[in-house]
């Protein structure tokens, strides 16, 4: 790998290469020790994609996500990063992330998966849906030739983690499903070094690729964007049913699962939707799955809406707790008590958080230090 412009730091804390939007963040570079630079990649990759079939009469059908794009020669799928060339399907982003950071695992958010640790976080351009509220649209809603990408093959990712003693790799920011091959190969290699892999996803994936992928993952956070098909159709440009199916599949696989629900004012914030969500989770996944209600900020194509009022989030919290969910959190509300973890039995404060920082940690292994109740998760 050529070393010029990709900045990394070997010290602990954080390292940042290219942020969402593809720009180096100069403010980060102050204080970086042992900085090493990498060149931006000049070309896209041409690694054959997995999960597609060639069609009689020409063209291919992508079988990675429920969209099942029909793609003819020189065209790309909806994701914009997988291309048909003479009826062989290629991923254009293998080993070419456009965003690389070391983040607290709480930022994903994972609250029950190695709290207080860091995750080497990366993303490529592209996404298989088009949410009008996307917070990372600069990378998710573009094609890879429009982002600044760096060459970072799977081995380099794992080596970086080992050098920095980062215990996990997070596939995040855009939609990792669309860089499936890259993610899968990193995760497989990482396991050989006892490094964990976590995926932050919208969950819009077909059963077979998900089944294979789950053998390499340690945790998945799914953005369940609504409990209404019309919201998925009009706001997300996807479908709800396959996401619900994926949630059940993940839960049944034994891989750790957390859910985020972004509460968008006037679009998915009614009591009945919160009730439906809580009941569905409790029935299909269990009451002990962490559910994070996250605050919306105006972005991308929904700049006309205000940020989610705190009261709305608190209403979601109260309804979910009343419906029996045991671990409900509020996100993007730094300092709110619902950022912290409490024992469902005795009410003891177990992990006190402020933003991504942990102030108090009162777990004894995976049990409440006061009443000894087992807390689900990987601690």
């Amino acid at each position: 790998m050529k070393r010029r412009t990709f900045i990394r730091c070997l010290g602990c804390g954080a390292a940042l290469a290219v942020a969402p939007g593809g720009e180096l963040l100069p403010e980060f570079l102050g204080g970086v020790q042992n900085a090493v630079a990498f060149d931006y990649a000049q070309n896209l990759s041409s690694v054959e994609a997995r999960y597609y079939k060639k069609l009689e009469g020409g063209g291919i059908e992508c079988e990675l996500c429920p969209r099942h794009c029909f793609i003819t020669d020189l065209e790309r799928g909806y994701c914009g990063v997988r291309e048909n060339r003479k009826d062989t399907y290629y991923t254009l982003v293998y080993g070419l992330p456009c965003s690389v950071n070391i983040d607290p695992i709480e930022k994903k958010p994972f609250f029950h998966f190695y709290p207080g640790t860091e995750a080497f976080s990366l993303a490529t351009a592209g996404c298989n849906v088009n949410c009008k509220f996307c917070q990372n649209w600069e990378i998710s809603q573009t094609r890879p030739e429009q982002t600044k990408n760096i060459e970072l093959p799977p081995k380099a990712v794992v080596d970086n983690c080992r050098e920095r003693k980062v215990p996990s790799i997070a596939y995040t920011y855009s939609e990792p499903i669309i860089f499936y091959e890259y993610m899968y190969d990193i995760a497989k290699l990482a396991h050989e070094s006892s490094i964990k892999s976590v995926m932050i996803t919208g969950g819009y994936i077909e059963k077979e690729p998900l089944k294979d992928l789950l053998t390499q993952l340690d945790a998945v956070k799914v953005d369940l964007k609504a409990m209404r098909e019309d919201y998925y159709k009009n706001i997300v440009h996807g479908e709800l049913k396959p996401v619900l199916d994926a949630l059940v599949q993940i839960k049944n696989s034994g891989v750790w699962l957390e859910i985020v629900y972004l509460v968008v004012p006037t679009l998915n914030d009614t009591d009945s939707e919160f009730v439906d969500l809580a009941r569905w989770v409790k029935t299909n996944l269990g009451a002990d799955i962490p559910v994070h209600f996250s605050r919306f900020y105006p972005q991308y194509l929904l700049k006309n809406l205000p940020p989610t009022p705190t009261q709305t989030l608190e209403r979601a919290y109260q309804i979910s707790r009343a419906e029996g969910l045991q671990f409900v959190y509020l996100g993007n509300l730094p300092g709110h008590p619902a950022e912290s973890t409490y024992c469902p039995d005795c009410g003891e404060l177990l992990i006190e958080r402020r933003g991504y920082r942990i102030n108090k940690y009162n777990l004894d292994g995976n049990r409440c230090h006061k009443c000894n109740r087992e807390i689900p998760g990987i601690f």
């Binding site: 020409g58 065209e75 994701c79 094609r143 429009q146 194509l301």
Partner: protein, 303 residues
């Protein structure tokens, strides 16, 4: 309008001079002017002029450099438009190079560049029309005052027809999001985006050769020599005429029509419904002319 040149030296492929004769005759007919200079001036006012090509298939079946050169020659007649006011453009430099264009991002001479040129890219503001929200190439938003849309005529396995409206997918950052439902209504909505609608002045579809099946990738077995160009200030009409030619060639080659093939072109009627142009053949004022080797136009009869 359709301008044909039956006497081409090499059937289906025109030289720069032959394209010049064709374009000259077409512009005169379109403008009603008798002098080339006046015809050019009336059709394309002075300003920085974009020429959006379709170079998806590289050297195989792209907007020919000979056509672009001939058009540039005419636009610069009597210094009406200066060379450095002409911008030949496409999504990427790679596509232009592979199609035989010589890149020039400088301010000297005719510019020729992809949106991926350093310092160009896509604008930061979103434009929205109907189902389409996107960011446009800064060549379209910032660089040019007007644009001439110069696609090739071909079948498209998703859109049905790839002509002028579909070619403007090359002006937006996220074309992959707009191929569902055979590109309807998206192809019409992309061209209805304010910048595109206001700047697209002329559509010239190269139909010297037509790929009547298997597009947008190149498949030589489906190439036919049609021997003409389609020229119109109405982007929907230009495509509608292109569709007639495409369907005729499909029929002649014993292929089902596009509706039977499962990719009916619905976005043209949508284009008419939203006021972008005319899709109804009975309302289109179609002129077909044949140009001879002296550049004289003759009534060309049927399409």
């Amino acid at each position: 309008m359709v301008v044909k040149y039956p006497e081409a030296e090499k059937k289906g492929r025109y030289s720069r001079e032959e394209y010049r004769l064709i374009l000259q005759a077409g512009l005169k007919q379109l403008s009603g002017e008798t002098s080339t200079y006046q015809a050019v001036k009336k059709t394309i006012p002075n300003g920085t002029i974009g020429m959006k090509t379709n170079c998806l298939t590289g050297r195989f079946f792209s907007t020919p450099p000979e056509l672009i050169d001939a058009l540039a020659d005419l636009l610069t007649t009597n210094n009406h438009i200066k060379d450095n006011q002409l911008v030949i453009w496409e999504r990427t430099n790679r596509e232009l190079k592979e199609a035989g264009y010589k890149l020039n991002a400088s301010s000297f001479g005719r510019r020729c560049l992809g949106t991926d040129t350093n310092g160009v890219g896509y604008g930061s503001n979103f434009e929205t029309y109907g189902e389409v929200s996107t960011r446009l190439s800064r060549i379209m938003t910032d660089t040019v005052d007007m644009n001439i849309n110069l696609p090739v005529l071909k079948d498209h396995s998703l859109a049905g027809l790839s002509g002028g409206l579909k070619n403007m997918y090359g002006a937006i950052c996220n074309p992959n999001k707009f191929h569902d439902n055979h590109c309807s209504p998206y192809a019409a909505h992309v061209s209805a985006l304010e910048t595109i609608k206001s700047k697209n002045r002329l559509t010239i579809i190269d139909a010297a050769r037509v790929q009547y099946n298997g597009g947008p990738g190149f498949m030589s077995e489906y190439l036919a020599d049609y021997g003409g160009i389609i020229m119109s200030t109405d982007p929907v009409s230009a495509d509608r005429i292109g569709l007639e030619i495409l369907e005729r060639l499909r029929s002649e080659n014993k292929l089902p029509n596009l509706e039977q093939a499962g990719r009916e072109v619905k976005y043209l009627q949508i284009g008419e419904d939203i006021g972008l142009g005319t899709a109804d053949m009975s309302k289109i004022e179609l002129t077909v002319i044949n140009v001879d080797q002296n550049g004289t136009a003759h009534n060309g009869g049927l399409l």
